[in-house]
């Protein structure tokens, strides 16, 4: 791996729920781990998330959702990435989910799902181990 490659992550919060504290905390943890974090704010459609990810050439999309629409929104992002031939971008999810949703999300192509109790260092390490900057 070229040592000048830097991990680029898009932190996005699709759906309608109103605050992004969690997304901001994770964005800061990523920055402190040396990643470049594109933060694109609240209320985005999956289409907007995917378009931003492609323009920004990120290695990973971290989706966060609290309002329960994750079963639609997260898989839709994966689907759109496939349509755009951009499914080399890893998709992760974070938020408050019922336990039984997690395997379903993983089946739909969400590579990992983090629940509120997961320590930030664990999330950061997961990214370091599973995401190759620049796809190499």
């Amino acid at each position: 791996m070229n040592k000048e490659r830097r991990v680029r992550v898009l932190v996005a919060k699709p759906g309608l729920d109103g605050h992004d504290r969690g997304a901001r905390i994770i964005a800061r943890a990523y920055r402190d781990a040396g990643f470049e974090v594109v933060y694109s704010g609240l209320h985005q459609t999956p289409e907007e998330v995917v378009q931003a990810a492609i323009q920004e050439d990120v290695d990973m999309i971290g989706l966060s959702s609290l309002a329960g629409a994750h079963m639609y929104l997260f898989p839709r992002v994966v689907e759109l990435l496939k349509e755009k031939n951009a499914d080399d971008i890893v998709v992760c999810g974070g938020g408050i989910f019922p336990e039984e949703d997690i395997p379903k999300l993983k089946n739909a192509g969400i590579k990992e799902v983090f629940t509120p109790g997961t320590p930030l260092t664990e999330i950061v390490n997961w990214v370091k181990e599973n995401v190759n900057p620049g796809g190499v």
Binding site: N2, E4, R5, R6, R8, A27, R28, Y30, R31, D32, A33, G34, F35, E36, V37, V38, Y39, S40, G41, Q44, E47, E48, Q51, A52, I54, Q55, E56, D57, K84, N85, A86, P133, G134
Partner: protein
């Protein structure tokens, strides 16, 4: 090269990846840039700079909307500082420009300033070239006005906007001399706030008293905007257009500007390339650490150490 063709026809993924490779210093990207050079020089480049939080991104977002309404295509580069502690960065300007993400006539890219030796300027300049070559009519570059770098980026812009907010004129210290000298248009944003007239007056005075005023016959106007409420944006774009026509109206001035730009581009590039290659050599060989130790132990002085390193490189080949 196939990729060159893809960039010229505006292939989003190819453009996005090329900018990444430029940022990550991938040697192939340089080869692509060489091929693209002949396709550059058509976009009009607007630099937008100012202190954190003055409303630059909101302003850019509104400018993009207005330019799109007149049928122009736009590329945006939003540059934010890299954390000196971790090397990471939070790039948050996109938040304000979200509504353009589905518009094919708009390409928005966030960049971090990255390394210390001219990283920002070199990568940003090259990224401007890429958006230019992909056919965008306008390229808008947002930088935070805190260091030397944004004065550098100004040299790559055709028109430079300095964004201020009411109250900022009071604090003369906050406005570095350099920044007043490079502004082609001054924008007092958040003019819904108190103290606009005073700020306009203060800035006017500071500009008039500056040395380089009436740069090439252009008197920098001061405009007031409310980016959050879409007020004053049309007038701002009109003023940018006036500045563009002003630049175009004078052949000798235009060739002088082109000369200055090519000159500064090339000198930055030379410095950047030499510094980068030397650092790669001396860090991978361990010579850098050794030299540092010797300097601390007073076995060698830093001047001699530097001369030795540089002359060794000059005798070898550039990669």
């Amino acid at each position: 090269m196939e990729i060159v063709q893809k960039i010229k026809t505006g292939d989003i993924r190819a453009v996005a990846r090329l900018i990444r490779d430029i940022d990550d210093n991938i040697p192939e990207a340089r080869e692509v840039l060489k091929e693209l050079y002949s396709a550059t020089g058509n976009a009009y480049v607007i630099g937008v700079t100012g202190a954190p939080g003055v409303g630059k991104s909101t302003l850019v977002d509104q400018m993009v909307s207005h330019l799109r309404k007149s049928g122009k295509t736009v590329g945006v580069l939003a540059v934010d500082p890299t954390s000196p502690f971790s090397g990471g960065a939070i790039l948050g300007d996109r938040v304000r420009m979200q509504r353009h993400s589905m518009d094919e006539g708009v390409f928005i890219r966030s960049m971090a300033t990255r390394g210390a030796f001219g990283g920002l300027t070199q990568s940003t300049r090259s990224a401007i070239d890429v958006l230019d070559a992909m056919g965008k009519d306008y390229v808008i570059v947002e930088t935070v006005g805190v260091g030397q770098d944004e004065v550098d980026i100004v040299r790559s812009s055709d028109t430079t906007l300095i964004v201020l907010v009411p109250g900022m004129g009071d604090d003369v210290q906050a406005l570095k001399a350099g920044i007043l000298e490079v502004g082609d248009i001054f924008v007092i944003n958040k003019s819904d706030r108190e103290g606009v007239d005073k700020t306009v007056g203060d800035i006017r005075l500071m500009i008039e008293m500056g040395e380089k005023r009436y740069k090439d016959g252009w008197r920098p106007p001061i405009l007031t905007t409310q980016a959050a409420f879409d007020k004053g944006i049309r007038e701002l774009l009109d003023e940018i257009e006036k500045h563009r026509l002003h630049l175009l109206s004078n052949k000798t001035m235009l060739s002088k500007l082109r000369y200055e730009k090519a000159k500064s581009d090339l000198s930055e590039m030379i410095k950047d390339k030499i510094a980068k290659e030397i650092f790669i050599d001396i860090t991978s060989s361990g010579e850098f650490e050794e030299a540092i130790k010797s300097i601390i132990d007073k076995k060698i002085d830093p001047y001699t150490a530097c001369d030795k390193i540089v002359s060794a490189k000059l005798k070898s080949n550039i990669r």
